[in-house]
Symmetry: C2
Subunit: 196 residues, 2 copies
C-alpha cells in the first residue's frame, strides 16, 4: 500500500467511532477533494487548536477572554444554566428556549473514579452564584448516577444562597412513544405529570 | 457559537456520510486531542495532497514514478487484474490471492453519462496488454450495468491479442445465507456452479 495514505488512514482511525473502512473512505475523500477545501480544513484545525480556550467566567469555549454568551449583554445574568460539557451547552442553545448564561462543569462528580468537587468547575460555580447575584440555577445534567450526585451536591452547597435550584424535566421525548420508553423514564414522567 | 469551531464543523460536514452531529463529535475530538496527534494528522494530509500521484504504468496511487506493486519484481507481470478504483485494488490486495499486477481504470464506461473509453484509462490498458506480453487479464469490476458494459468492451478489444480474459466469480458471499441472497446473485451462483 501507499505509505502516506496508510499513515493518514491510521490518523483518521483515532477519530471517535471510525474504523478501518470509514477511515479509508475519508482518506480517499481528502485525496480527491479540492485543494482549497483541504487548505481551509487544515487552517481551521490549526486555528481551533491554537486559539480556543475556556471563557474566564463560564468555562465555555471561546477564542477571546469571554465567550459569545457572556459577552452578549442581552442575556439575563440572573439565570444560570449548569451543563457538563460545551456540547451540552450547544444543545441547550439550539433549543432557543434559554436566554440566561451558562456554567460548564467539564465533568461530573464520580467518587468511584476519584472525581470530586475540585476536579471539575464546581467551586467556581458556587462562587459565581454568590458573587453574581444569581436568582435561579437550572441544572441541565444528564440523568445518570453521576448527574444525580452532582445535582444533589450543588443543591446542598447552594442552600445558604437565595438562588432557586431547578432541574430540567425528565419525561417522554417529544415524538417518542410510550411503548418504547424505558420503565424508569415512564415512572419519572408519571411522577412529574403536569396539569393541563 | 464559537466561530472557528463552527468553521471546522462546516469543513468536516463535507466528508462522505458525515452530518452535523458526527462533524461536531469530530470537531470536539480534534479540540481535545493531543497536539502531537493533530500535528501528525495535518502533516500527513499535506503530504498526501502534495506528493501522491498516479503510477505511470498502472495508474494506482503512488508517491513515486511507479507504485509499490509495479516496483516489486516478484509480482507476475503476465497476469493483470483490472479494477475501477485504487480502493478496489486495495480490496483485492487484502485477499492475498493475487500475485500479478494491476490496471486502475479510474471509472467505468457509462454512455448515458457521457463516459466512453477515452474518459477512463481503457486505451492505456489495451496498449499495455499488447506491449507487456500479458497472458491473462482478470476483470475485477463491480457487477453493475456499467461494470458489465466495460467488461464486454475490454473482451472485444482484446480479441486480437493472445491474452485470456477472465472475470472474478459472482456468487453467494462466504458466510452469507441463501435465504437473504437476492435472486440475481442466486441465479448467477447456480449458473456458475462448480463440481466438487
Amino acid at each position: 500500500m501507499i505509505s502516506p495514505l496508510d499513515k493518514l488512514i491510521k490518523s483518521l482511525k483515532k477519530f471517535p467511532g471510525v474504523g478501518e473502512k470509514t477511515a479509508t473512505r475519508y482518506a480517499f475523500f481528502i485525496l480527491n477533494a479540492n485543494q482549497s477545501d483541504i487548505d481551509e480544513l487544515v487552517r481551521t484545525i490549526e486555528i481551533v487548536k491554537r486559539n480556543l480556550r475556556l471563557c474566564s467566567r463560564c468555562f465555555h469555549l471561546t477564542d477571546d477572554d469571554l465567550c459569545n454568551v457572556c459577552r452578549n449583554d442581552r442575556r439575563e445574568g440572573s439565570r444560570l444554566c449548569v451543563v457538563e460539557t460545551p456540547l451540552d451547552l450547544l444543545a441547550v442553545e439550539k433549543s432557543g428556549q434559554f436566554n440566561g448564561v451558562y456554567h460548564v462543569l467539564h465533568g461530573l462528580m464520580s467518587p468511584l473514579d476519584g472525581i470530586g468537587a475540585e476536579e471539575i468547575r464546581l467551586n467556581e460555580l458556587i462562587d459565581r452564584v454568590r458573587k453574581e447575584n444569581v436568582q435561579e440555577v437550572i441544572l441541565a445534567l444528564n440523568p445518570t448516577v453521576e448527574g444525580e450526585a452532582t445535582a444533589s451536591f450543588i443543591r446542598d452547597q447552594l442552600k445558604q444562597t437565595k438562588a432557586i435550584v431547578s432541574r430540567i424535566a425528565y419525561g417522554i421525548p417529544v415524538g417518542g412513544s410510550l411503548e418504547f420508553s424505558d420503565p424508569l423514564t415512564l415512572s419519572r414522567a408519571l411522577e412529574h405529570r403536569t396539569k393541563i
